[in-house]
């Protein structure tokens, strides 16, 4: 089966830096894929090369099997990109903007789909307003709608929820998840790692233009064997001199462990020191913990 995105040995050099240092990546059709990394990792450069906005110095990139340079028309017809920057054309209304964007893809009579997209993004009440009159969140919705006018099989969202309210996030993810269920491949970059954890089946992490982790979200989370216990304690904890307990304030202490035997031993020592446990909460490491550890060690 043709990969939705295929990237081989991608290098991008600028005069002052190398933004991508040989990236290899394949995203299967129908995946919900996360592309994570700190600022300057090369995520937007990679997306720009896939979208044809930037030319690679070396390597190849293809969308649904079509090379983004030599077969750019076929590749771009199959790709919808929501750019990171909040950009808009101040001359037009929302509906004009979407009709024009449809026309660029050769779609003349596309109003039914445009109305459906606007409906899903709660944009219909704004349809005849000038873009200048919209709030930031509404402009972000129009950007998403513009990327979807031609029903692309591959949709790239470059930090689509940056600086937007909860309402848009919920509306957007509901719609994007429904598109994914219909077979659209979704590639998401975000700094909200809880979104990536909840939505993405597989994740690549970039640092300094290299992929430093590429695995399913489940496997990445399983890499973190560490668990964390938060305890509310009563008694002379400091006097008990128990190693590994870190104070959190308000009588709460944190204890990190990998095996439950370590927790049992801690509870026994607390009992021996006449320190009472009033509350105990356990948590596994989340994607943010995993991300921080991988990026720090890469």
């Amino acid at each position: 089966m043709t990969a939705a995105l295929a990237v081989r040995g991608l290098v991008k050099r600028y005069p002052a830096l190398t933004a991508l240092q040989g990236v290899d990546l394949e995203v299967a059709a129908g995946e919900f894929f996360g592309l994570l990394g700190p600022n300057g990792a090369g995520k937007t450069t990679l997306i720009s090369i896939l979208a044809g906005l930037t030319r690679a110095s070396e390597g190849r990139a293809a969308v649904m099997g079509f090379d983004v340079q030599s077969q750019y028309r076929e590749a771009r017809r199959r790709l919808g990109v929501v750019p990171q920057e909040l950009v808009y054309d101040p001359f037009f209304t929302v509906r004009e903007t979407l009709r024009i964007q449809s026309g660029y893809f050769g779609l003349k009579h596309n109003d039914d789909w445009l109305d459906e997209v606007m409906h899903h993004l709660d944009l219909l009440p704004q349809a005849d307003k000038n873009m200048r009159a919209l709030s930031g969140g509404m402009k972000r919705r129009v950007l998403v709608a513009q990327a979807l006018v031609h029903k692309p099989p591959v949709i790239i969202l470059d930090e689509p929820t940056a600086g937007v309210d909860v309402s848009l996030r919920q509306t957007l993810w509901k719609f994007i998840e429904s598109l994914n269920r219909q077979g659209h491949t979704i590639v998401l970059t975000t700094h909200y790692l809880e979104e990536a954890e909840a939505l993405c089946g597989r994740i690549a992490m970039l640092k300094n233009g290299r992929i430093v982790a590429l695995d399913s979200t489940r496997n990445l989370l399983d890499r973190a064997h560490e668990r964390c216990a938060t305890l509310s304690l009563r008694g002379d904890v400091a006097g008990a001199g128990i190693a590994g307990l870190a104070p959190q304030g308000d009588g709460e202490w944190r204890f990190r462990f990998e095996r439950y035997e370590e927790l049992e031993a801690l509870l026994a020592r607390l009992h021996g020191a006449h320190v009472a446990v009033e509350d105990l909460q356990l948590a596994r490491a989340d994607l943010e913990d995993v991300f921080n550890r991988i990026i720090a060690s890469a």
Binding site: G52, R55, E74, R76, L79, V81, V87, P90, I100
Partner: protein, 252 residues
Amino acid sequence: MSAAFNTLLYKELLRFWKVAFQTVLAPVITALLYLLIFSHVLSSHVQVYPGVSYTQFLVPGLVMMSVLQNAFANSSSSLIQSKITGNIVFVLLPPLSYAEFFLAYLAAAIVRGLVVGLGVLLVTLWFAPLRVEHPLWVAVFALLSAGVLGGLGIIAGIWAEKFDQLAAFQNFLIMPLTFLSGVFYSIHSLPDFWHRVSQWNPVFYMIDGFRYGFFGAADVAPEKSLLVAGACFMAISGLTLALLKRGYKLRH
């Protein structure tokens, strides 16, 4: 032509039409002011061609100057605004070819130039009734010249990264070329040095050939003017297409 080309052309036309007060009416008024001031001051002192008053002589020059300046302004301002605000991405992401991109911006620039030129002609007719000796020459020179400046506007819009760079292009190249091209005078009335300098100005041939279409008289043979204007159009178009194909300052 493809639907993508038609859409980009429509978008560019709609863009300038939505601000027609600024893009059409204002340049028509400016040209009218030129006509009133220059014809009032000079009409009793200057006669360039037999049987043609100075005011009549002035009108084709002003029309062509408006065509040129507005064709340039349309493509250059649209591109620089799109680049600076970032919405150029909406044109770069779809499967438009560089040729479609070029033709759409060029055609929109020509239309804007011709609409303003027609507006200037209609308004000035009130002050100086004109006969048109060779309408085909008028049309050909109007189209070719708008095309040359429209193409130059695309180059300027792609090259400039800031508004002041575009203003420099406009003030130090386009304005001198149009003002020192015989809009307000015949180059035969110039001292020898400036007469020879003017003959190196391609805009002079555009205006002179355009004027020939009205009066059947010109400073140089209209065939020569057509050759210069045609060569300029081919050269500018070739350069613009080469820049767009490379993605110069658009696709990094």
